[in-house]
Symmetry: C2
């Protein structure tokens, strides 16, 4: 092979256009870094007339024919969604082409099968752009930390929800108001479900957990709560205890298995949580993303940057493109993703978490004792309590120690039934407290 490396691009929206532009603008640098020129030989789109900037002879609507063409060396997939992307990737592998993808949903749903198909064909499947856009994250997890044991990966991996929560903290606005602002400014899509309900973050959590723990984790293994129930009260209660509210993707290796067997299990969850302002993730505001990692030997690490947008995502795609191209020229595939550990998934009910609970209670003797008794009944111990009286009412703010999530949620249900409790005004998990 002495000619250029020939690339088929599937999809030409915001990310695809940026990929095309970068390949063209940086063609000399790419050639120097790879040792071969890069040439885009076809761009598959649904509506060719929507892409006046792309040379007409490159455009095709037949993506399947494009990925199997003999004159294609590498495939870049930025269509997103499950189908037709999955079929196209499998066809590409079968035809011996390596693939660079930015498709978090597909990788989270079907990563194991796709990796197996790529390995069988002896080609590469890289997808740095699928999680946290431009932030180099999957390569560090796959390679830099390959000699270490990861304990925990906690990410702010969705820019839309982080923007909304940041604005709620800054302005005191409620969720609906902050979402409206985010939509107006283009930070939220017209249908924001995938972002605000945590589906996007759950896909990314599944990918991160799979790589971090060498264990197959799919989106359906991820417990998921979005941010639409987060209230202005939650945000101000967080501030009172020196915390901020973030939507976190948490991937954790927990001692013990759900079935009581020896060995560790993997708990993966996405939900809003209070974290202390001293935590490295607390300062990650607006549309920025960051992922915090705890490893046995490396200790605490954090990766920070832009998690979305055409250019940042295209930067990640091109980094993978260079790697895959170099591998192809070296005649070898990159290191396969291993899932040898096969740790069982731990359901949220059995995952240790901590809760913050704010209650409106009658301000009379014995209420705190009764509330504390309810916690104890469920085997949950209390870390801190604050009580503020105002007239005949009082506010009780409690933060629990770590306990199985089911015990904590049962405690909250029981509190709601107590005659002395007039209302549970805020319930949110707490992360990162020491």
């Amino acid at each position: 092979m002495t000619g250029p490396l020939r690339v088929a691009l599937l999809g030409c929206g915001t990310v695809g256009s940026a990929v095309l532009r970068l390949i063209s603008e940086q063609s000399e640098d790419l050639a120097a870094r790879i040792g071969r020129r890069v040439e885009v030989v076809g761009v598959a789109v649904r509506r060719p007339d929507h892409h006046p900037d792309v040379p007409a002879d490159l455009l095709t609507t037949d993506a399947e024919a494009l990925v199997t063409r003999d004159d294609v060396d590498l495939v870049v997939e930025v269509i997103g969604g499950i189908e037709p992307a999955r079929t196209l990737l499998l066809a590409a592998f079968e035809a011996g082409k390596s693939v660079v993808s930015a498709n978090k949903a597909l990788l989270a749903e079907d990563g194991v099968a796709l990796h197996a198909a790529a390995a069988k064909a002896g080609v590469d499947l890289y997808y740095e752009a699928a999680v946290a856009g431009a932030i180099p994250l999957l390569r560090p997890l796959r390679e830099s930390l390959a000699g270490d044991q990861l304990r925990k990966v906690v990410g702010i991996v969705n820019g839309t929800t982080n923007y909304i929560l940041s604005r709620m903290a800054e302005t005191g606005a409620g969720f609906t108001e902050a979402l409206a602002e985010a939509t107006e400014l283009g930070y939220a899509e017209a249908d924001p479900t995938a972002d605000v309900d945590g589906f996007d973050a759950a896909s990314k959590a599944a990918i991160l957990a799979s790589l971090a723990f060498h264990t197959p984790v799919s989106a359906s293994d991820v417990y998921r709560e979005g941010i639409s129930a987060v209230t202005a009260t939650d945000v101000s209660r967080a501030a009172e205890i020196g915390c901020v509210v973030k939507l976190l993707a948490i991937c954790e290796r927990v001692a013990g298995s759900p079935d009581g067997a020896d060995g560790d299990s993997v708990a993966v969850r996405v939900h809003p949580a209070m974290i202390p302002t001293s935590h490295p993730l607390a300062g990650v505001n607006g549309a920025f993303n960051a992922v915090y990692v705890e490893a046995e030997a490396a200790g605490q690490l954090m990766f920070y940057g832009q998690g979305a947008g055409g250019e940042p995502t295209a930067s990640a795609v091109l980094g993978d493109l260079v790697a895959v191209a170099r591998n192809r020229l070296a005649g070898a595939a990159g290191p396969a993703v291993t899932s040898y550990a096969g740790l069982p998934a731990r359901p949220i009910a059995e995952t240790p978490t901590r809760y913050h609970v704010s209650l409106d209670v009658a301000d009379k003797p014995g209420v705190l004792a009764a509330v504390a008794h309810e916690f104890a009944e469920h085997g949950v111990s209390i870390a801190t309590v604050r009580q503020d009286g105002h007239g005949d009412a009082a506010t009780l703010v409690l933060v629990s120690h770590s306990a199985p999530d089911a015990a904590l949620s049962a405690t909250v249900e029981a509190l709601q039934e107590m005659p002395a409790v007039r209302g549970v005004t805020s319930v949110l998990r707490v992360e990162g407290l020491t």
Copy 2:
């Protein structure tokens, strides 16, 4: 090759011992991730009797014989310093062994020759541990960002000086006092010169710049100022303008060449600077390290973690060990480090910087005009001025716009000569202001 991968370890101090321990503790995981067991077959040390924990039959004082032994596949070098490390690495390459090194001084002095020798032999030279310990940094720069154009890399890469500056900010202590505390707590070595005078950071800056700009940069190309001249006044002046003082390693691609030719040049420097508290690096305190990156497409990125210590450094060494081992099993070397760009080094005098200057002046009409005139005379424009009167004296605090460093230092010299200026109380460069 069906037996284990056989490793020779050169050096067995803090890092080497941690490498040995991790290889042993994680032997099953390493085997699963590499596809082959890892076995340490020899440990070269100067004083075998100082290493009672290492099996005696592994210890040798003849490092050169060890690296060329037929039963050695990979060499891990954690001796540090230029010689004998350089000779040993070259001997290892010649014998066809890949090398993992943590040796920043050697890589910064002689990286080009070492990379050439490794490439000629078709083997790998990896050294993630040489910069910022456990933080995955070199692999992201070499690989993840290989499709992007880097503009700037700014690092807090020396834990000792960051600890000292953090303590000065927290306690108001002067440099000498903070250094004494750092020494007592083990954050500074008995001879702290390499750290406090910026030599350690300069080596790391050279390595970062080489990778970021695909250009050979050695430690002698790096402008260097340490922190021993940083005063408590500098630190409090910084706080007054919403900044903190950090020792920064700054690698920058600047438009234009020093000889007036077209094309860019590379400016690499290590010096204390004020940065705004809103900058992602400002919150990096104590012995932590972080590196901030600006890339054309990816935008702003930051990598944060522990920059030193046996375990974190060993984590980086083991990540490289896994990569090198996988490459060897795949029968291919990893991507070579390219220095095709060959950009000229830009001397500090011609590097654009910004200065903060605090002056004690006579509080009488015309002084500010005279001071401003001095700046203008040197072609430096002023961004902000604050004047505080107290009795017959006043304090003038000025922050300049960007100008060639030589013009700024000449301005300061001229200010010192002005009759109305009673003293220049603080001069420090400013980074990251918008």
